[in-house]
Symmetry: D4
Subunit: 213 residues, 8 copies
């Protein structure tokens, strides 16, 4: 019967509430955050900004802002961290905003999570120096711009599910990340699946579901 089609939000009891800040006013976001705080729920706001944070923090003093990742996290109730680990691997410094969005998302969903950055293939020894740490993770997020080669290289070295996030970092015929996106989908390595351009949140949401299995 219809009971099968229950509320998505209900399904996710215990999950933080996620608010996509883009295109919402600081006031609208604050209202949602306050409401959730009253219910004792954790809140993650993505694509926020300085002004939004300043408005939210007045109503929710526990709010913490990650300006690079543009996230606001409000931990109203403690959660148990997973024992298994998500690794977020990134090519260059310009990929950091996406790394941070993924990091904060994974964190508030209760995951142990680690960042391994600046290991792009233009200097591949940097990646190899980190292989032991990388191999300890249960699931990997690979964030890269340009031609996205890092996803293939990592995919060829480890045997874990990899969620690749193309970034809009690049110039010339990068087409706002579309080239990276298509490159990752054409990866010569098995085990790579892809989310949308700059979608650090989506990658971490996926990784979290896998990490908690």
């Amino acid at each position: 019967g219809f009971a099968k089609i229950d509320n998505h939000r209900e399904l996710r009891v215990g999950y933080p509430e996620v608010v996509y800040g883009e295109g919402k006013t600081s006031e609208q976001v604050t209202e949602i955050a306050t409401y959730m705080q009253a219910k004792g729920q954790n809140v993650l706001i993505t694509r926020s900004n300085d002004h939004m944070y300043e408005t939210v923090v007045k109503a929710c003093p526990k709010a913490r802002y990650n300006p690079l990742g543009r996230t606001i996290s409000i931990v109203n109730k403690a959660y148990q961290e997973t024992s298994s680990k998500i690794s977020i691997i990134a090519a260059g410094t310009s990929d950091l905003p996406v790394v941070e969005e993924a990091y904060e998302t994974a964190k508030i969903f209760g995951n142990k999570v680690e960042k391994i950055i600046d290991v792009g293939v233009a200097g591949i020894h940097r990646l190899f120096n980190q292989m032991d740490r990388i191999r300890e993770a249960k699931v990997l997020i690979v964030v890269a711009g340009m031609e996205g080669a890092l996803a293939s290289v990592v995919g060829g070295l480890v045997d874990k599910p990899i969620i690749a996030v193309p970034t809009s970092v690049g110039y010339g015929a990068n087409l706002g990340g579309v080239v990276t996106l298509l490159g990752m989908l054409n990866s010569c390595a098995s085990g790579v699946s892809v989310v949308n351009i700059d979608n650090g949140f989506g990658a971490a949401y996926n990784a979290s579901m896998i990490n908690r299995l």
Copy 2:
């Protein structure tokens, strides 16, 4: 040291050998299959065809052909099936070749796997009738052509990792599956990651890594 960069194949001890049949002669494929058979290894050949099967089966009598999925499976050593399940969900009959490729891949990688087909959103009650079975799976593969809406709908109903496979099924401005691919990447539901067009193998490879965690 360099020991970290060991052979990809070695990493995958116990895995079947996978041969991409497209662009290879029946003789080349048979040679690889024979060699692996001698080593007692399981073999999966994708993108094969009738002629290839007839050539392979002479040398490897255990070879089994799935003409719809265009796969040849050769089980030379028994494997333990997982207790957790992969569900492959598909919209329409024209998606079946991709479903079968995914199914055979998941099977030979040792997974319990189930097919739930013809549940496209044009008649959404068909999907709801299957929700109990779908919710039992540990990871889902959603195969769809056209606008790819099925991935979003499933993503909104279950809280499992979903690997979406766009198919090149469609006509008019479908652009050989590119529209479906981009639609799935823009899914309004969280928890969906995407592999390349018609890449049933890749989806099942990913799902298998997750299912075995």
Copy 3:
């Protein structure tokens, strides 16, 4: 003879005058509005802005502004509302500007019109809760961004003409709404036709012609 090729405007006697505000000065628009007011005609200005409204309202005190939909409506003569209904169904809050443009257009063309919003497929039970209201309409406008799955889902549930409006809402590889547009054109459900990206006016114009049949 030539009489067949009569004036489009004449054909539409009784219709409001529609002015596309984009790229026109507030003064130009006010001049047209004043002229139409003198003739006792109703006027709809789309793609307007605050400044344009302030200029127009000085000359036409009946002017009413919808800032979200960016429309100015001036009802100089009463019209008879239709007994049959247009339903405007929308996925998310970011689709609201397009919903409002469609709503105001349908209104001033004399239609009974209803908005059913925030029923995107990521939480499909919200849509099902509205099915009775939706089924009462004579024609449906479905407004959605992302992958546009809502049009297919609605198309599979009701047997009414559906005009789908893709919105430019999205991020990553959404390509400014082109992905949504192509997704809707590839809908697996019959009965869906499509207008241009963000073209709420065009959808409502079409729906009005159908609703008045």
Copy 4:
């Protein structure tokens, strides 16, 4: 409750069964047709071919083949023709297959329907000679390739809902109909909505829903 989400097919009691022939075997299609015949239902098979017809007609002697439109129609029970009319207007001879698919679809859905062909804008007097007939229709289907200008010209002359069907007719930078499709979506005339390239069936399905209102 769930009763709202009843079977799409049930919704359409009295409608013909529509089978999309592409990618199905003649035997599969014949099986469906035979089953529907037994239930006394009308059947429309689109994207069929000579061989399919020859197989179907053996089991269903009432089957009638339209080779240009590639449709097979089987009228097992009489239907009442509408008093209002659908006009299908087409630019050139190469658009005829799409015209015929639309025509047969409209017919078996019980509509009065009329074809007005070879009235492309390169010789616009041909269109004007037909304006009286065109104006009598309740809803119009405009089928055109090349730049699709016919939809805009008709849209500027009549005040009826227009469903435009871009065809893949063209050469050079026509991009398989995509240019026509996008041209029609950018039509300068109001009242035009668009279906997918070469989708005569979809246009007629829409028109039928409108014509029967």
Copy 5:
């Protein structure tokens, strides 16, 4: 010998000097204009702006500015106007900047030139009212945005060379004029050739070469 490859500029003795203002400073442009004035030559500056005009006019008091067309014309020596005529035909008001660029170019190259505007195909009787004037021209420039249907309609009515200029006017899936451009190249009417998007100068340069034959 090499004498064949003489200076392009020399070839064009008697022609005005044309300066593309975009990306040049007002000072650079003024320097060129002053130099040409000293040589008694006529000067056309395209893609200029208010500030550029104010700088130029101080040094060249004969400079005349067309703010809509963004051109500065400096007639230092009289020229003989052609007896034959170029007609510039445009669909809508948003095409006017391109019309004006074409007009000023045609003028300073010594052509009799006429503007026929606001005759888009959404109200085609407006075009027919102008057919006598249009038929008097030796060569036609058709400026249009949206789907560019005007070029095809004019091409079907007159037997003169037509240079079509797509404009970047449009919204939604217009893709910055690319849809109009491709539509015009796919025109169903013979006798239409096309220049780049918004390239009023190029169209008038071509038309001038033809008009002076």
Copy 6:
């Protein structure tokens, strides 16, 4: 009145009838040709083939076939050749089919016409050796594939209207001529307008209208 909108064909009294052979049967084409022959009119059939010629020539013994250009010309009445000349300039041997289509079109429209081939810019001295002949023409057709540079180079050397025809000749990322087409539209030389890919007929039709002025 309506008299303005007379028949396109009538406008072109004295012109040959042009039949686009693609997608027509040999029988259909022969019927048209026979009818025109009876009226004493000249006929040009483009995009024909061997079989079509053999069928046509039986009914119209004067028919002459150009297999490279895929044209059939039937001169039923003598015409006066122009004294001014059209030059068709082509880069390489693979452009020859388009050159021949343009040549035959220009011929049967009564133009003096000359072919200057194999003068691509990879060996630019070949072009310079032909400059005297090129400069004698009244209008130029430039046919080129690859990057289409020939149109720009010729445009920089002569002061005549140039109609550029991109050809679908190329490999790799030529995209079926779209790259050449866009390159020509972005030509750095003034005086170049463009027709569709491989459209030798359209270029010659345009050139003929100019040459006859």
Copy 7:
């Protein structure tokens, strides 16, 4: 003077004649080959086929055919091999046709040349095993399909000029090599320049010019 613009062919005295076989008849190619043989010149024919070879070899018994690379080489006069080396590095077996075209080109232009194949990044240890050989080369050609990551990885490991050749190898959203092409142009490693898709000849021609410096 004009002497500067001397014959390209003359410039290249001592070079082999290169004939692009695609779209030429076996007879045309044989004629050129015979003529060059008479002059004692070396000849390279690319994009040839079996039939072409059989025709050529009758007239030129020294002709040697590489069926994988689709080249015919005719060495009529000995040449001095370079002491420095070109390395051609390729990812997979499906890249071999392009490798062979490059190899034969480099050979007949007199270069020492080496092939290092099957070293794609999905198993990166295979590449590292070849680094000593790769580092000995003066210039590198990297041939890869899919996402083209090999070019970036090699570019990050060696300090030599790299000419990357994208291949049309791939499936799904590879877009016939365009994704690989754009990926390589967006390489995160410096020192990589790119030629057209599958253009093994062009890469080797470039490499040869560099190797002979």
Copy 8:
């Protein structure tokens, strides 16, 4: 062993450090520059700006700014200039920023380098006047926008490796340089390889590697 995979930076001992300024703060860049200065190394900062220069020069008084090329060069240790020469050839004034980036890069990598500008093919005699200088170079960089014809013309006249840089200069359907990029990749002349749009640095880096061979 692993020694093969040594540090990229170490490989380049004696090379300047290159910092990509885009997206870095002036402070971050200054820190890197100061650190390198302390080590006595030369530094090149690309994509910088006025503010960045003012910050850097306080810490590194030897810093020299090229505002057009947006580069900052800091020569902390003298280098030996090559005896062979790189020529940078450019079509127009709007290509100058890219020319300057290439020039500064070539300079600080120790190359003799020469600029030959404003020699676009619209006035091809300007190029021929420079052929003697051009022929003296060991390697050429060709910088052009629009259709990129200059690369083909130069490629047909000289027998040196050419690195083509498409610029984003253009208007209308130039697509931000993509048309130029694809045009250059389809060059009819051999010996041309291509780097990304506006990538003057990359071209000069390549040219430098070749020039130093």
